[in-house]
Symmetry: C2
Subunit: 137 residues, 2 copies
Amino acid sequence: MYSIGDLSRRTGVKIPTIRYYEQMGLIEAPERSEGNQRRYEKRELERLAFIRHARDLGLSIEAIRDLLALSEHPERPCGEADRIATEHLASVREKIARLRKLESELERIVACHGDHTIGDCYVIRALADHSMCESEH
Amino acid sequence: MYSIGDLSRRTGVKIPTIRYYEQMGLIEAPERSEGNQRRYEKRELERLAFIRHARDLGLSIEAIRDLLALSEHPERPCGEADRIATEHLASVREKIARLRKLESELERIVACHGDHTIGDCYVIRALADHSMCESEH
DNA sequence: GTAAACACTCCAGCGACTATAGATATGAGG
DNA sequence: CCTCATATCTATAGTCGCTGGAGTGTTTAC
Ligand SMILES: [Zn+2]
Ligand SMILES: [Zn+2]
Ligand SMILES: [Zn+2]
Ligand SMILES: [Zn+2]
């Protein structure tokens, strides 16, 4: 039996976040002590570790909910789980692509170091005028 | 004189967003028509275009507020503006680095395509066990 | 004059937490 | 058993940058 604090220390998930996950339906409402405090089993510790890891990998609460539901049925085919992960990978790649464009625009923009005034600062002028950019964003 | 709708069409910033920027102090409260509708000058159109472009480049409202304040003083040195842009570039680079790590973990995880069940799905097992990962995240 | 299009304010919601406030429970030492 | 520090409880509000809706009033074109 773990208290919510034990669970928090063991998984690195903050206490309010654990309660939030319960509210969001990622973990079931656990048993309670006589004084109404949450008491968890090992099962729930593992479930929370799964959630934590999936969050660290950037999966949404929604996706994690689906993955947890799938993992309750070990005999079923895993196409859906693979699809969720693949889609997530695609979205990570999109984000990277977008950020790389920003990176190169910003590199160009900040290249104007030196002693000068706001009036002729390339940063300010570049921000005021998208036509100086090399790509859309 | 532009109505809020004109401004919106010309800058691509949605109407509620323009009002939000006003509330956030990025643009001043403009004059009003007799019937209390906002009426903008060209100055404000340019200011909003600046904001839009800076947002597209990922700058925070806070940073944009500072940049706008700086741009009111063309005679001052531009070190601060350069610093804001440089810091932002650094944060974009950090994001890219983090996402690249995720990308490579996810690539490894989704490599398990094929006909199999949830019970032996690598996606599910990898999410349950961070020790199968090659880096921290 | 009338109708369509536009704009007003206020407020709620998104996602994924995080942080308070004020009350109650638990557990270890005496 | 009592005290007290620590832990936990609920409920609510705040974060960021918008976005949408309800319900009402204004402008404009015909
Ligand atoms: Zn400069
Ligand atoms: Zn641009
Ligand atoms: Zn699989
Ligand atoms: Zn991992």
